[in-house]
Symmetry: C2
Subunit: 146 residues, 2 copies
């Protein structure tokens, strides 16, 4: 009762494993470790960052392949901020966007999203399976001083 209170990371993690089982994918150690990280820390993380966080317990290539699988079954969302490498975060229903400092690359989460009406316009152009990507960039207060 006490542990689960502040942040219940266990439930999303267990649910993720169920999703893997439902897709007849194996629950391997690397997948467990990666899912543990993604469900407890917020991210989003690059492949390298995830590889370091599992303390090189598996190969970097395995991180790539795990993330591809997790993205396929919808457990993970890919973020591309236009700086060489893309990032991944756990995808739990919550639709949100990011605020990225152009200088120090700090990433904040924004919970606002008023874009549904625009997506409706896009569907009226005949497009199906419509989604969008919205990211904000700027110089954060800390960097403005430096």
């Amino acid at each position: 009762m006490s542990k689960a209170h502040s942040h219940d990371h266990q439930a999303p993690y267990d649910q993720a494993l169920s999703t893997l089982r439902a897709a007849r994918l194996k629950i391997t150690l690397p997948r467990q470790q990666i899912l543990r990280i993604l469900t407890t820390e917020h991210g989003p993380f690059t492949m390298e960052e995830l590889h370091q966080r599992v303390k090189n317990a598996c190969d970097l290539v395995t991180v790539y392949r795990c993330l591809a699988v997790l993205e396929d079954v919808g457990l993970v969302r890919r973020c591309d901020f236009g700086d060489g490498s893309c990032r991944y975060e756990f995808h739990q229903g919550s639709h949100h966007h990011h605020l990225i400092c152009r200088r120090c690359r700090k990433i904040e989460t924004l919970d606002i999203c008023l874009i549904e009406e625009l997506e409706r316009d896009v569907r009226q152009k005949g497009y199906e399976d419509v989604s969008h990507a919205l990211e904000f960039f700027g110089i954060c207060p800390a960097c403005q001083k430096g």
Copy 2:
């Protein structure tokens, strides 16, 4: 009077050259060719596409360096759609976004943008020099049939 009517591509092109001169940058052949393409065709184009369009008159590396310069002086805008390579388009004040087919990669331009209010929120978080990137993805009508 007749030629300039339907689409006056000459004016933006000449203006771009002036911008280069004002920045004390040289008007070289590759820069002229690239600017001609970007001011007449809409794009956005990848580096490879631009290189092909100048018919290999200059090296691919030169395309990279020209685009970097043009972006620096604000003549060109970079677009990253999260598929390996980024694209560039002529930047003429007009703020807009894109609609990209996930299958055939066709790119349409959208003139709508209601994000100014969200940017205001971001500035209130203390961020300076705020900008955003908004792209829509979907399966276009043509691809739905294939």
